[in-house]
C-alpha cells in the first residue's frame, strides 16, 4: 500500500523544507510586521488550512504576489501560488467598491478616455484626492496615471491595412495601460516591429488580462476574461500561426502562468507562443540578419529596473541586451528589487506606507544614478518610480524606438 498517495496536495507545499529563505527575500515581510511572511502564509499555513479552513489568516491580503519568494526558493515550491490560491479559496472578505474600480482597469479606461483632459485634471485636484482618500480609501498621496485622449485601438484601426502588408506578423496584446493611458508605447512597438520587417496585428478580442481582478478578489470575472483572451490567442497562434507578444511584463506573466495556476484556465497549447516583445525581438535578431538603423548622434544614460514579474519570468536579460544595442548608451542595471506598488496594492490607503517603504532602497539607488531615464517593462513600476523619484521612466521599446532612425 502506498500511503504517500494520500498525502499529495494539488500544489507542491510538501516540498518545503522550512528553510525560511523565502521570507528572507519577501519585500513585504521586510517592512510590514503584520504580514507573517511567505513561509508561514504559504506552505506552513496550507498544512493547517487543509485540516480546517478557518485557520485561514486574513493577513494573507498583505501579500503583493510579486513571486520573489518563488524565485528564491531552493526547493521550487510555488509559494506565491499557494498564498494566492488560499486567498481565493478561503478569504471571507468581500471586495469593496474601491476594489471594483481599481480592478476594472478595462471598464474605467473605457469610461475615462473620451473625457481624458477633464478626468486627468479632476483626478489631480486636491479636493478630489481628499474625497477619494476619505470615501474610497485610495491614498491621497498617490499620483494617478493620466488617461489618453483616444485609445490605442482607435489609432491602430487606421494602421491595420498597412500593417497587414508585412510578410511576417505578430499579434500584440497591448493591455489596458497602452490602450487607455499610454498609446505612444503601442505606436513605438509598431515602429520597432516594422523596422524589423514585422507587421503588428491586434487580437480578435482583447480583454484586460485580469491581474487586478485576481488580486482584488473578483475571480469569476477574471476567469471569464481569461477564457476570452485565451480563445483569441488560440485563434492567432493555432489557426493563423501568429505568435502573441506583450509589452507589459505583468500581462505576459499573468496570461502564461496565473491563468493555469490560479484560474484553472488551461493554456498549454499556446503558452510558449505568448511572450514579451523584447524576447521576441531578441530571438529575431539572433536568427536573422537584420540591421537596425540607429540614429548616429544619440547619447543616452539609462538605468534598468527589473519588475518582479519579469524577475519571475527570468527575462530581464532580453530587455537589457536590446538596450545595449543602442550606440552610445550608458546602461546601469539596478539591483533587482520590488518597487512596492504591486499594481493596485499601493493605491490603497492602508498599503501606502508599506508600498513606499518597500520601494525606498530602490528610489535611493535611482536618485544616486546620473541618468536620463529609468527603463522598465512594467507600467505600474513606472508610475511608482515617476511618483517617488525625480527621474522619468520609460519602456525599453520606447527607448529603442527613440534611438531608431525614422523611416519614410
Amino acid at each position: 500500500m502506498n500511503l504517500q498517495q494520500h498525502n499529495i496536495s494539488d500544489n507542491n507545499f510538501e516540498q518545503c523544507i522550512k528553510c525560511t529563505v523565502c521570507t528572507v527575500y519577501c519585500p513585504v515581510a521586510a517592512v510590514n510586521p503584520d504580514y507573517p511572511g511567505p513561509k508561514q502564509a504559504g506552505p506552513d499555513g496550507e498544512r493547517l488550512r487543509l485540516k480546517r479552513p478557518d485557520f485561514y489568516d486574513e493577513a494573507l491580503k498583505y501579500c503583493i504576489n510579486c513571486k520573489r519568494c518563488e524565485v528564491a526558493c531552493p526547493s521550487n515550491v510555488r509559494i506565491g501560488d499557494i498564498i494566492q490560491m488560499a486567498r481565493i479559496k478561503y478569504s471571507k472578505k468581500k471586495p469593496k467598491v474601491r476594489d471594483f474600480i481599481l480592478a476594472n482597469t478595462d471598464l474605467v479606461g473605457t469610461l475615462s478616455t473620451p473625457f481624458a483632459p477633464v478626468v486627468n485634471a479632476t483626478l489631480g485636484l486636491k479636493p478630489v484626492k481628499a474625497i477619494l482618500d476619505g470615501v474610497m480609501q485610495i491614498d491621497h498621496r498617490r499620483t494617478f496615471p493620466k488617461y489618453a485622449f483616444g485609445t490605442f485601438e482607435s489609432w491602430y484601426k487606421k494602421q491595420a491595412e498597412k500593417q497587414a502588408c508585412f510578410p511576417q506578423q505578430v499579434s500584440y496584446f497591448h493591455g489596458c495601460y497602452v490602450n487607455y493611458n499610454n498609446p505612444p508605447l503601442g505606436k513605438d512597438l509598431v515602429k520597432v516591429m516594422n523596422a524589423m520587417g514585422v507587421g503588428v496585428q491586434l487580437l480578435k478580442k482583447e480583454k484586460c488580462c485580469g491581474v487586478a481582478l485576481i488580486s482584488n478578489g473578483f475571480i469569476h470575472q477574471a476567469q471569464k476574461q481569461a477564457a476570452q483572451n485565451i480563445s483569441s490567442i488560440r485563434e492567432s497562434v493555432v489557426d493563423k500561426q501568429i505568435p502573441v507578444i506583450a509589452t507589459s511584463s505583468t500581462c505576459a506573466f499573468t496570461i502564461r502562468d496565473e491563468y493555469p495556476h490560479l484560474l484553472g484556465i488551461q493554456n498549454a497549447d499556446v503558452r510558449d507562443h505568448i511572450e514579451l516583445a523584447t524576447r521576441y525581438i531578441y530571438r529575431l535578431l539572433s536568427q536573422k540578419e537584420i540591421k537596425l538603423n540607429f540614429k548616429k548622434n544619440t547619447k543616452i544614460k539609462v538605468a534598468y529596473h527589473t519588475p518582479c514579474h519579469l524577475e519571475k519570468l527570468g527575462w530581464a536579460y532580453y530587455s537589457i541586451e536590446l538596450l545595449k544595442l543602442i550606440p552610445n548608451i550608458e546602461l546601469t542595471v539596478l539591483d533587482s528589487q520590488c518597487c512596492g506598488i504591486a499594481g493596485t496594492y499601493g493605491f490603497k490607503k492602508e498599503n501606502y506606507k508599506t508600498s513606499q517603504n518597500i520601494g525606498e532602497s530602490l528610489f535611493k539607488q535611482i536618485e544616486a544614478c546620473d541618468i536620463d531615464y529609468v527603463v522598465t517593462d512594467c507600467e505600474t513600476c513606472k508610475w511608482q518610480i515617476e511618483m517617488s523619484t525625480s527621474k522619468p521612466c520609460e519602456h525599453p521599446i520606447s527607448i529603442l524606438a527613440k534611438a531608431l532612425e525614422d523611416r519614410e
Binding site: 525560511t20 528572507v24 521586510a30 508561514q40 526558493c73 521550487n76 536579460y317
Partner: protein, 418 residues
C-alpha cells in the same frame, strides 16, 4: 544567448568559478534554481580537518598528502598536493577581493564556535565571528552573552555551559526593544534575518549600543548571535568602537545572516565583473554533439538556448538537489551524469547516526580534470565542481567549502588554459 562559459548552480562553487573566469575577461552566466546552501552557512569555511581514517589534521597543507593516499578518488587527489596549496591561497585572496573579510590560513587550522558552544577546527572564518587559536580555551575569563528575548535559534545556556568547561565564565543577558515587539507578533518567524533587518537601521543599532554599554558590566568581551550585518559590513566595528569592548558574533541556527551576506557579496562581485546571474531558473536539458555539450535549455528560456564553449555543473549535493536519491538509485538530474553509489541500498547509510555516512561520498564521477563522466566516457567541455562531486565526506573530513572553492578554481584554470 551566447557565453564563453555556462555555469549551472549559483552557490559558493559556481560563483567563485564565475568570478575567476570573468576576471580573465570571459563572458559567463550563472543559472541558479533558487538561493544557495550558503544561506545555511556557519560563517566558516573548512579546508581539511580530518583524514578519512579519522586522524585529525592540524595543518591542511601537510595533511593533504596522506588524504590523497587514503582516498585516491577524493577531489583533492585530482588536484595533487602542490595545486591544493596554490589554489587554497588563491581562494582566500579571491574571497577578500570580493569583499568577504575572512581570517585564517592554510597551514594551520583555527577553531570556530558552533551554535552549541563547541569548538571545531576550520580554515577561514568571517571576521566578525568568534574564532580562536586554541582548541581548549577562549582568550577571556569573563564574558557576557546577549540574546534577543524570544529568539529561539541561539542557545545561551548551552554556550555558557561549554564555555565554563573551558574556564570562561559567562553572564547571560536577554534584551527586548519596542521594535522587536513588532516581529514577535509571529513568534515562529522570529528568525535571524528578520531581526537582522531591524539592526540594519542605525537608530536600532544605537539602542543596542546603549544597552550593551550599560549591561555588559565587568565582562571582557561580548558575545552576540549573528543577527547583525545583513546589509552592511562594518556593524561589529561600529559596536566595538562605541561600546569599548571586544564584540564577537556566534553563528545561529539557519538562516545564516553571515552566509547570506557572503552569498550577496559574491553575486555582486560576479555581476560587477560582467557576469550574468539568473536566479530562479532550472536547466532542463542539453544538446550534445559527440563528447561536447553545445546547447543548454532552461525552464524560463524555453526555445532560446544558452550556447557556450564550456559548461560547469556546480549544483550542490542532495540538499540543493544536485543529486537526487530515490529508493533504488542516486542520479544527477541535469545531464544524467555517471554517479557513484552502492547498488545495495543498505550500504548507503550507517545505523550509527554519528558515524561516517557512506551516502555522503556519493556523487558525480569525473576524470582527473574534473570533466564529467557520461556512460563511462568524459565530456570534453562539461566540468563538475563543488558538493556534487564524488569521493569526499564533507562532514567527517571537514572539507566541504574547500572542495567547493578549490574544485571551482581548478575547473576555471582548466577552462582558461584551453
Amino acid at each position: 544567448m551566447k557565453f564563453d562559459t555556462i555555469i549551472v548552480g549559483g552557490g559558493l562553487a559556481g560563483l567563485l568559478c564565475g568570478i575567476r573566469l570573468s576576471k580573465e575577461g570571459q563572458r559567463c552566466v550563472v543559472i541558479s534554481a533558487g538561493q544557495s546552501a550558503l544561506h545555511f552557512s556557519s560563517g566558516s569555511f573548512d579546508l581539511l580537518n580530518a583524514l578519512p581514517d579519522g586522524t585529525p589534521v592540524r595543518n591542511p597543507l601537510a595533511g593533504v598528502e596522506e588524504l590523497i593516499r587514503q582516498q585516491p578518488l577524493h577531489p583533492y587527489a585530482k588536484l595533487g598536493k602542490e595545486k591544493f596549496g596554490e589554489l587554497a591561497v588563491l581562494a582566500r585572496e579571491l574571497l577578500l577581493e570580493a569583499g568577504i573579510a575572512v581570517k585564517g590560513e592554510e597551514k594551520a587550522n583555527h577553531y570556530r564556535v558552533t551554535p552549541m558552544g563547541n569548538l571545531k577546527p576550520t580554515w577561514l572564518t568571517l571576521k566578525d565571528l568568534l574564532a580562536c587559536e586554541s582548541d581548549s580555551h577562549l582568550p577571556w575569563k569573563k564574558i557576557a552573552i546577549f540574546n534577543v528575548l524570544g529568539f529561539l535559534d541561539f542557545y545561551t545556556q548551552f554556550i555558557a555551559d561549554e564555555f565554563r568547561k573551558m574556564g570562561t565564565e559567562s553572564s547571560i543577558h536577554s534584551f527586548n526593544f519596542p521594535v522587536l515587539e513588532c516581529i514577535r507578533k509571529n513568534p515562529t518567524e522570529m528568525r535571524s534575518t528578520n531581526i537582522a533587518r531591524l539592526f540594519d537601521k542605525q537608530e536600532n543599532l544605537e539602542e543596542l549600543i546603549r544597552l550593551l554599554k550599560t549591561e555588559s558590566g565587568e565582562a571582557e568581551a561580548i558575545i552576540l548571535p549573528a543577527i547583525v550585518g545583513l546589509g552592511q559590513d562594518d556593524v561589529v566595528e561600529q559596536l566595538q568602537e562605541k561600546v569599548g569592548k571586544t564584540i564577537c558574533l556566534l553563528p545561529t541556527l539557519p538562516p545564516s545572516v553571515p552566509g547570506i551576506h557572503t552569498q550577496q557579496q559574491l553575486r555582486k562581485y560576479f555581476q560587477h565583473l560582467g557576469g550574468v546571474y539568473m536566479l530562479g531558473d532550472t536547466v532542463l536539458r542539453a544538446e550534445k554533439e559527440g563528447r561536447k555539450v553545445v546547447r543548454v535549455y532552461s525552464y524560463n528560456h524555453g526555445d532560446i538556448p544558452f550556447v557556450g564553449k564550456n559548461v560547469v555543473l556546480a549544483t550542490g549535493s542532495f540538499f540543493s538537489q544536485g543529486l537526487i536519491a530515490t529508493s533504488e538509485r542516486i542520479y544527477e538530474p541535469v545531464f544524467d551524469l555517471d554517479v557513484s553509489f552502492s547498488k545495495d541500498r543498505e550500504q548507503w547509510y550507517n545505523l550509527d547516526l554519528f558515524a561516517a555516512q557512506p551516502y555522503q561520498t556519493f556523487g558525480v564521477k569525473t576524470d582527473d580534470s574534473f570533466r564529467a563522466m557520461y556512460r563511462g566516457q568524459a565530456f570534453e567541455n562539461l566540468y563538475v565542481a563543488g558538493a556534487v562531486l564524488e569521493g569526499f565526506n564533507a562532514m567527517k573530513e571537514g572539507c566541504g567549502a574547500g572542495v567547493s572553492v578549490l574544485s571551482a578554481l581548478s575547473v576555471a584554470e582548466r577552462i582558461l588554459s584551453k
